[in-house]
Symmetry: C2
Subunit: 303 residues, 2 copies
């Protein structure tokens, strides 16, 4: 049977959207806070992180991958909060996100700040009280590990520090630009992508050695994702990207194409993809097919 | 032996500040993110919430109240994040907090947004990974309960919704103003004060019936705290308050003095204090002395 990635992604998106919908459905949708959360959470995101998490869970446990759903939803909520705050006028000042008005444009800055805070806070509520939403969920020890890993990846030594560095172009004035750029992206995007894959494996009680391979895969594919994002910002179709073309140049962002050029950036992304795929080769041929296909998609996508 | 509240508070503040210092000390203090977190977290807050938590833990377990410290620190970090975000130009637009420049005034709006996000995220890291900081801590089941209770009190049905309501004066245009105001404050301040007291008790494995009495105490003293805050905003000494006098009037905030007058507000606060003290009378005379003294202090304070 030939693996159909498009079908696989659609099926997973449907599953994730179903549970994110159930989470939001607990609250009165006429409240502005809930409307703002829904506006951003249900804006048609790719659901890349939870899909990676589910694909990772499936490698480690064919029958119990549903156990990864609480972490999937928590991670997507944290990802969405980070986009809402990142888009604020004081940060990247973006008007469009996924082709729709950003949260602060649709509502107000104050509401966007609070909707982000609410999504972040509720991510931990989801993991601590999964039974309200999910039929099955990992035991308390595993869930505490998820709280720990996810709060670490999203926090002071992870995503938030990456966002800080992204706003401080002066760090590029000293030392090796490429090292700075890799470090910034490893923190800003990489840690959350890696923890998505790790959380899927942890949720199903995977073997620690297998988890190490998956972390390796995550680190590489996370960086590749960012390199491709930079390339698409220069070359991509703004309608398909859902944001303005060349916005990185306008915002004077340091990018991979700027430092090493477009061709070397493309080769770098391709090499990372190959290394990522290689790092999970020992985990089996068939079960790793979706994850490998996603890695290939990440590098070859056009939006 | 006569109970000395001032001494008690100072001792607890020292203990809490010690552990908050250890938490911050894990990170490079030259990083702007960490400086911004420290600026707000160590700005000389009253530490009311963690002190309430410790006093509650002491009632339920004389010897193991230190088990409440992880929750104490997490709650104080969440409280501080909420102040940082609340002070932002898009929210209350305050220049001063605890007599110092607000986080966005001292650093930048972007840094303040991220420092708040980091404090909120790290609160859950603290509870999930307490061993890095604390000698003793509750077992995993209890800590998961803490994640659940705290994320609930701080979230969509708690503090964040209270902040939303506080920014929507139009809600006062229909219905009973006093009911709206009580509801807003119960969400904005009350839930976090109650969960502080509840967390202290939960951390030491308190009896559920005792916890109920303490929750009742928390609900009442939380509301009393806000009524007194409103009174002090009209009457207080701005130097001692650390913020501008009458700022509620300038910001057109609906307050208890505005709706029921100063004298009735004072009586309301006093009645709540009496009811709060009464609600924990069954928990013993001596062990409840600190909590009762704090309740009295909350209502009689001048800043």
């Amino acid at each position: 049977m030939i693996f159909n990635l498009e079908h696989y992604i659609k099926e997973k998106q449907k599953l994730i959207n179903k549970y994110l919908g159930i989470i939001l459905h607990q609250f009165d949708k006429k409240r502005e806070l809930v409307m703002a959360m829904e506006h951003s959470l249900m804006a048609g995101g790719k659901r890349l992180r939870p899909i990676l998490s589910l694909a990772s869970a499936e490698i480690c446990s064919e029958n119990f991958s549903m156990l990864a759903l609480p972490a999937c939803c928590a991670i997507e909520m944290i990802h969405t909060y980070s986009l809402i705050h990142d888009d604020l006028p004081a940060m990247d000042n973006d008007d469009l996100r996924r082709g729709l008005p950003t949260c602060h444009k649709q509502f107000s800055e104050a509401t966007a700040i609070l909707a982000g805070d609410a999504l972040l806070t509720h991510a931990f509520q989801i993991i601590s009280q999964p039974k309200i939403v999910f039929e099955t969920y990992p035991d308390v020890e595993v869930r505490m590990q998820l709280v720990s890993k996810i709060s670490q990846a999203a926090g002071i030594m992870g995503m938030i520090e990456g966002q800080m560095l992204d706003m401080q172009p002066q760090i590029f004035e000293s030392g090796d630009c490429l090292t700075h750029l890799k470090n910034m992206h490893s923190l800003k995007t990489g840690k959350m992508i890696t923890v998505s894959i790790e959380s899927g494996a942890i949720s199903v009680g995977a073997d620690p050695a297998d988890i190490e391979h998956l972390i390796d895969f995550g680190d590489k594919i996370g960086l590749a994702f960012q390199v491709v994002d930079d390339i698409l910002n220069v070359e991509g179709d703004p309608d398909r990207m859902g944001k303005s073309k060349g916005s990185d140049i306008l915002n004077k962002k340091i990018t991979f194409p700027l430092i090493i050029g477009i061709d070397a950036s493309r080769k770098f992304a391709k090499d990372l993809m190959d290394e990522a795929i290689e790092s999970i080769s020992s985990l089996g041929e068939q079960s790793t097919t979706p994850l490998k296909a996603i890695a290939t998609y990440i590098v070859n996508r056009d939006h």
